[in-house]
């Protein structure tokens, strides 16, 4: 087996090229045909260039949102799977996205309408919900003196998810028809962000999360084999676990507040990537982020074009593709 350095370069180059291809072709796909040549034709003023307007105003924000959300959810999935030593963990396992969903439900149902620096209340409330959920899980798991207990984390996450779901249903019960329609649509997950502003708002949080994640991959390799063994190899387990939990939750919260709970990305993408690059987290983590971005761009292209009379919420597409695919992956061996 070649040295890790060579494998890392190959992995980054391969998955990076895939993402680049998705970023360029994604905005070209849609109900109206546009040509890449005309989009970048500088001789036509932007105001008269319909192709450029469709590319930059209608489609590119959506593609960039897909990239940001896909990368965040896939990377968060990798981290939660390693942290919980469970390949079935997802960004939602610890209740972070349910907390985000509850925040959004409350903001929609109770018409909490304000904007902070151009960001509307629903994504803000959603992000607050995810931070709140993380805070509760974190406090529960750290109540024990020595590090975070995997079992406590898992059970707390499952319980919190069920509890948040009940609060979401309760909120929907109180809502009128129009608000219920909005909340249900939000829960389907959509990348129709409308402009660059929400992306720019989520970007610093995602970048911060990824900067934190970058310190983690080798510690995650060792922690996945057991915390005692990892500590004996020189890993500062408590610090690494806290960093992992915080960064993966931040990434999840940013992604869910931007697009709603888009399912299956955090589960399917890491498993697909491991088939190609193996299990070393120094390869799996960056490859999953890159492939998650490309994968969600692809799913959204399908969501935008598969149905002639409108656009499907991308969450429906990822679940329809991801569900059967993951079942196949499970029985394949």
């Amino acid at each position: 087996m070649p040295l890790i350095r060579k494998r890392l370069v190959l992995t980054l180059a391969g998955f990076g090229a895939l993402l680049l291809a998705a970023l360029v072709t994604g905005p070209l796909i849609g109900s109206t045909h546009i040509s890449l040549g005309k989009v970048f034709d500088r001789s036509i003023p932007f105001a008269d260039n319909a192709d450029a307007q469709i590319f930059f105003i209608a489609r590119l924000p959506r593609v960039l949102a897909a990239a940001l959300v896909g990368a965040s959810l896939a990377a968060a999935g990798v981290v939660f799977q390693a942290l919980l030593r469970n390949p079935l963990a997802t960004p939602d396992t610890l209740g972070v996205s349910s907390g985000a969903a509850l925040g959004a439900m409350l903001a929609i149902t109770f018409h909490i309408d304000f904007a902070l620096g151009g960001i509307p209340s629903v994504p803000l409330a959603s992000f607050a919900g995810s931070v709140g959920a993380l805070g509760i899980v974190y406090a529960l798991a750290s109540a024990r003196r020595r590090g975070l207990s995997t079992i406590v984390l898992l059970l707390a996450g499952v319980t919190m998810t069920a509890f948040f779901q009940a609060l979401i249903l309760f909120t929907q019960y109180l809502a009128d028809f129009a608000d219920t329609f909005r909340t249900v649509r939000w829960l389907m997950g959509t990348l129709d962000v409308g402009s660059y502003a929400p992306i720019l708002a989520a970007l610093p949080i995602v970048l911060l999360a990824f900067a934190m994640l970058a310190t983690l991959p080798r510690s995650l390799d060792l922690i996945s084999l057991g915390t005692d063994a990892a500590a004996a190899r020189g890993v500062n387990v408590v610090a690494a676990e806290r960093m992992a939990l915080a960064s993966a939750s931040l990434a999840t919260g940013a992604a869910v507040s931007l697009a709603g709970p888009v399912g299956f990305i955090g589960l399917v993408v890491p498993h697909l990537v491991r088939l190609v690059v193996g299990s070393d987290h120094r390869l799996v983590l960056p490859a999953s982020a890159l492939f998650g971005a490309a994968f969600l761009i692809g799913c959204d292209a399908i969501a935008r074009t598969i149905w002639s009379s409108g656009e499907l919420p991308v969450g429906i597409v990822t679940a329809l593709i991801g569900g059967p695919f993951f079942l196949w992956l499970l029985v394949r061996k």
């Binding site: 080798r218 004996a232 890993v235």
Partner: protein
Amino acid sequence: MLTADRVSFAYRAGAPLVVNDASLTLAQGDLVGILGPNGSGKTTLLKMLSGTLTPTAGTITFDRRPLSGWTRRELARRIALVPQETHAPFDFTVLDIVLMGRFPHLGAFALEGPADLEIARQALASTGTSAFEDRPFATLSGGEKQRVVIASALAQSPELLLLDEPTASLDLGHQLDVQLLLHNLNSERGVTMVLSTHDLNLAAALCRHLILLRDGRVVAQGPTDEVLTPATVRALYGVDADVHRHAAAGHLTVTPIGRVR
């Protein structure tokens, strides 16, 4: 090399002491076995010696410096711990697992280089696991896994190797393989070793010194031939046993006769 001075440990304040006032001294090249019934504190004592658990009372000194004065990474370059069982939730290859032993020797963002690969391959060779290099760890048998985990610990280049029940759940052939491997590592490469075990015959064959633990207390310690007697076996396990030197094996053997009524 390492001294534990009256160390105790409780998992919570006020909880019963798992290890109670234990003292021991290790010299370079020692091969020490820790014996004791289930729940006697063997694993906890090993974890304290490795520095991954901090004693609630007493101090452990390694290379004339208290363990509390070492960083985790510094200590892991000198002391390795082989846990009782290693379960890999992902498809790591054998080489992946062994290379993880290089963790404490690499900087935060450094990747393993040719020198690290060479050390990992030597560790594989000295544990007889070179042939498995590219196989998924999860597909190995129990004995093969145990040797790979020992190889991973050797890749840490430790001076002190701590092993928690290294032969538990292995069949007789694999037990002897691991026994021979540990013997050779100690006699040929001078690795100091402490191992816990329930296998009295393994301890008698391999270890030059024994520490007997019961309810967290050291009830006896010293050279194997002096410490392993019918009286100590009875005191530890409540079992009447015949202890005698086996002519062919050349070491003490323990044959249980019956439970003490």
